[in-house]
Amino acid sequence: MGTLIEEIFSRKAGRPVQAGEIVLLDVDYIMSHDNTTPLAIKAFREIGKPLHDKNRIVLHLDHAYPAPNVMAAENHRKIIDFVKEQELPHLFMQGVCHQVMLEEGFITPGAIVIGADSHSNTYGVMGAFGAGLGSTEIAVAWVTGKCWFKVPETIRIELRGRTQPGVYAKDVMIHIAGLLGMDGGTYRSVEFGGEYIESLPMHERIIFPNMSTEIGAKCGLIAADQVTIDYLENETPATGPFEIIQPVNPRYERIIELDVSALTPQVACHPDVDNVKPLEQVEGLEVHEVYIGTCTNARYEDLEIVANMLKGKRVNPLVRVIVTPASQRIHKKAMQNGLIEILMDAGCTVTGTGCGACIGRHGGILAPGERALTTMNRNFVGRMGSPLAEIYLASPATAAATALTGRITDPRGFLK
């Protein structure tokens, strides 16, 4: 009996648990990447105890990969040496960690997966618990197989209606971030549901748990349904049976109801994710870079939207338009289906997969005074390089329209 998070935690605890309790739970997988693993290795050495279960440890090189400098290369070396030393079975260099975790079937309904990355909330899209932690706790979980959690209160966001053409899950989630604010979900589980969520395909659903981080949420959850099961069976190596966990007579701290039918394209403006405006209020603002990438919006379907809008056209010649697919698998499929050629012919720079530009490492750094429109989830000051640059967040369609004109542009005039 309880909210989705109470149901998930109760199964793991082997007894009914309620919001407010502290529980020590077994974790199914422990994720970390090249930015956070070196610190975890250091903590692991200090603890001085053996790994609990190497099969549960999943490592990625994606944040500064391929290495843009010697220190990043040293981090990669350190991680690969650790993998060899401990004979770890799961090391990936094939995309943004969260996308690869989904593609490789590590995330299944009811699983508890922690990651040394704040956007580990993404895993909530499968009806799993995903949350970000620091490197030291990752090392603790490597050694113990466990992690402590306070069972969070839940905010339920009930979404009705269907969006208009040109309006996407990203617009809806940016709108929600504006309503709740950057601390609107702090320490809370945010449960997304309702007929709108149920109508969405997986790549659109992902936006909500992924960006629940931006409102401070401990986790962002969507209950598994047939769409989830179909994704697992068709797109991943995960094997069932999968249990569909639903809230049962839940007691919510707060319920927010929203009808998305009348929503227009939204933009999260410099310098905060909750500085949200309808696109029309910032339309025409000049941009110097358009970046389509990250764990938020660089999936195959996102690239398809962009390619459909750019086909046979040229992007503004004075704007750097950079497309970074979220994984090699996505990159390959986009190549096989001709999307990459369309993007290149339109004047986009298509890069290898990774997180580099979104954390200001490489592959799209901004200069002082520049403004970027991106499909990222976070626009903190200095995030993409210079602290004197501005970052605006929007959907892939808005990014494509903006790439064509060099100014923030409503995508609805460009849809075929």
Binding site: I22, L24, N35, T36, P38, L39, K42, A43, E46, I47, G48, K49, A64, N69, M71, A72, N75, G115, A116, D117, S118, S120, G132, L133, G134, S135, T136, E137, A139, V140, V143, T144, K146, W148, M182, D183, T186, Y187, G216, K218, D272, I359, G360, R361, R378, F380, V381, G382, R383, G385, P387
Partner: protein, 165 residues
């Protein structure tokens, strides 16, 4: 006893330590650039025992442990804020950086005030104004980690199950 350094609401991890400096995990090296964009004078003038007084949702943003490590490396005694972002809260406890939740103290302490903090009792005294404040008590298991000087030290001596005992 130390001087108070005040910061605004939603102080995020990129503002605490920008991503480009996270190529090292050396606390003293990180401390050189802590708050470099929002308060560059902090890293130059902080003295051991000074305290940070933050706004609500302190430490929001990424999971980077570099943020609390950089602050710990700067030799600050503790952070007082009305609330902390959840990953930062866990990270600070795990690495042994004392943090206190106390909205009243945040409202009653100004930049440069002399402040005395008793970490074990949670009592905060503003010596400049004469006001005293009581921080919210931390849960027992959090105190166990804090008393061990962080989770790594705790695990050297104990089984993880003992946290809940």
């Amino acid at each position: 006893m130390g001087k108070a350094w005040t910061f605004g609401e939603n102080m995020n991890t990129d503002e605490i330590i920008p991503g480009r400096f996270n190529i090292t995990i050396d606390p003293l090296e990180l401390a050189k650039n802590v708050f470099c964009e929002v308060k560059p004078e902090y890293s130059k003038n902080i003295k051991p025992g000074d305290i940070i007084v933050g706004g609500q949702n302190f430490g929001c943003g990424s999971s980077r442990e570099h943020a609390p490590i950089a602050i710990k490396g700067s030799q600050t005694k503790c952070i007082i804020a009305p609330s902390f972002a959840r990953i930062f809260f866990r990270n600070a406890i795990n690495i042994g950086l004392p943090i206190l939740e106390c909205p009243e103290a945040v409202a009653g302490i100004r930049e440069g005030d002399e402040v005395d903090v008793d970490l074990s009792s949670g009592q905060i005294r503003n010596l400049t104004s004469g006001a005293t404040f009581q921080a919210r008590p931390l849960p027992d298991f959090v105190l166990k980690i804090a008393e061990a000087g962080g989770i790594v030290n705790f695990l050297k001596e104990h089984d993880i199950q003992e946290l809940m005992a």
